[in-house]
Amino acid sequence: MNSLVPIIALTIFVLLFGAGLLFLVSLVGPKPKNSSAKNSTYECGIDVQTTGHSKISVRYYLTAILFILFDIEIIFMYPWALAYGDFIKEGHGLYILGAMGVFLLIFIIGLIWEIKSKALEWD
């Protein structure tokens, strides 16, 4: 808890810094003169044809789901990597290497299957 206080303090300071800058600009900058041509969404100079929120390719969702799966697997390696040296020192090196080997094998099979099933093709 104690180590969280400076992080929160810095976050608040940075947010205030950014908001303060925006406020400063709104004070000293010239006041906008509105016109429909200026205010409309930028679309390379032509009249607006589409809404900003059109359909999104399903590839992005697929990438996101695959990312979550693989990221959890990678995070699972962190405590293993941390404890690895201690296990070797106590003479259990082969055990921890084999235990992670099985996990990594599943990881690699998953990656190969993912590539083979063309989940990562962008066309």
Partner: protein
């Protein structure tokens, strides 16, 4: 944050100075980028305003402040304003968690008739024991500000740029996270300071249970993890959206990506966020693979002894030592920042499917191979076979 008022105020001031330092480095980097790109392309770049064009930055900053505050119609106003402000936060916090020099140990001293101390000030905004995990977690929050900007702009280019950048960032985060596993195997710690301590002195490692030393090389991570260093640095380019991975703002296809609708200071804040990310990434590169604030063949204790020998008091010697090592760390950070700029003006941009293929089908398998090889080599080297 501290036991008494003196410690708390020093910590707060330190925190603000590090943040302001980060913000102030951005115009300088923009200048280096413009001049550097100019020299690479055989032209002069900005050289009219002030000596070497250095005050161009000041003129730019003033211009940014006096720009009109403009929001296009049909935007989601709150998110539109919040996105640039939020983009500052992950960079600032990630940079603040990285130690920039040795901690300063202050002994008891007297001031204004009362005694203070002893104190220990870390040369960073705040200390977190789980440094690596914290910095990785925080810096990946940068995707949120891009998505906020892209979604709230109500512009198809913005949304496409934001989606691309998000997909790219998460794809390269796998390679980034996996390339660090080698470093964790090597040092067995999440803490940056412990990691830097382990990289002091000459190159020393265990070979089949015996200790081997190479006296003419520093004990830096790059000599143990060359492949990991390359993978990490490449992934960091994608994480910070720099060329050759700047697909989110591929101007030939997407106008300007997620900040198409932004102008003036709001756009400038995105740049501060991006350069802040680069600084954090450069600092991480230095800490993981280049000894952090370590100066080769110079131990902090011997430097402190030298300063004491010059007649400085113990407190002043501690401060001077910390600043000397800070110069070393800063030189490393500036070098990697220059590499960022150098690469930007050397290598052209990828196509989007090539980018994703590189992330998933090349870097991820190589990072896996790096992890497995590191684990096996460490097992063979460190086990006592006799």
């Amino acid at each position: 944050m501290g036991a008494d008022l003196f410690e708390v105020s020093v910590n707060l001031v330190k925190m603000i100075i590090i943040f302001v330092m980060m913000v102030q480095l951005v115009p300088l980097l923009v200048w280096v980028e413009r001049r550097g790109s100019a020299f690479i392309q055989n032209r002069l770049g900005p050289n009219r305003v002030g000596p070497l064009g250095l005050t161009q930055l000041l003129a730019d900053a003033v211009k940014f402040i006096f720009k009109e505050e403009f929001v296009p119609e049909k935007t989601k106003r709150f998110l539109f304003y919040a996105a640039p402000v939020v983009s500052l936060v992950p960079a600032a916090i990630a940079f603040g968690a990285i130690p920039l020099s040795l901690p300063i140990n202050i002994e008891q001293f007297e001031m204004f008739g009362s005694t203070f101390g002893p104190y220990r000030f870390a040369f960073q905004s705040f200390e977190v024991g789980i440094g690596i995990v914290f910095v990785l977690g925080i810096s990946s929050l940068g995707a949120y500000s891009m998505l906020m900007a892209g979604w709230s702009s109500n512009n198809k280019y913005s949304l496409l740029g934001a989606l691309r950048s998000c997909a790219q960032m998460i794809s390269y985060e796998l390679a980034l996270g996996l390339s660090i596993v080698g470093i964790l195997l090597l040092y067995g710690t999440f803490d940056f300071a412990t990691m830097i301590d382990a990289q002091q002195g000459p190159l020393t490692f265990m070979l089949l249970g015996k200790e081997v030393s190479v006296p003419f090389l520093p004990n830096w991570g790059i000599f143990y993890q060359p492949l990991g260093a390359i993978l990490f640095f490449t992934a960091v380019f994608a994480e910070t959206n720099r060329t050759p991975f700047d697909l989110p703002e591929a101007e030939a296809e997407l106008v300007a990506g997620y900040h198409t609708e932004y102008s003036g200071l709001k756009m400038n804040m995105f740049y501060i966020g991006e350069y802040g990310h680069m600084m954090a990434a450069s600092a991480l590169m230095a800490v993981f693979y280049f000894g952090g604030y370590d100066i080769p063949f110079l131990s902090p204790d011997s430097v402190r002894e030298t300063f004491l020998g010059w007649g400085l008091s113990a407190n002043k010697a501690a401060i001077a030592t910390a600043f000397l090592f800070h110069v070393s760390m800063f030189a490393k950070i500036l070098f990697f920042l220059w590499v960022f700029i150098w690469v930007r003006w050397t290598i052209p941009r990828f196509r989007y499917d090539q980018l994703m293929d590189l992330g998933w089908k090349t870097m991820l398998p190589w990072a896996l191979a790096n992890t497995i090889i590191t684990a096996i080599v460490i097992y063979i080297m460190r086990t006592n076979w006799s």
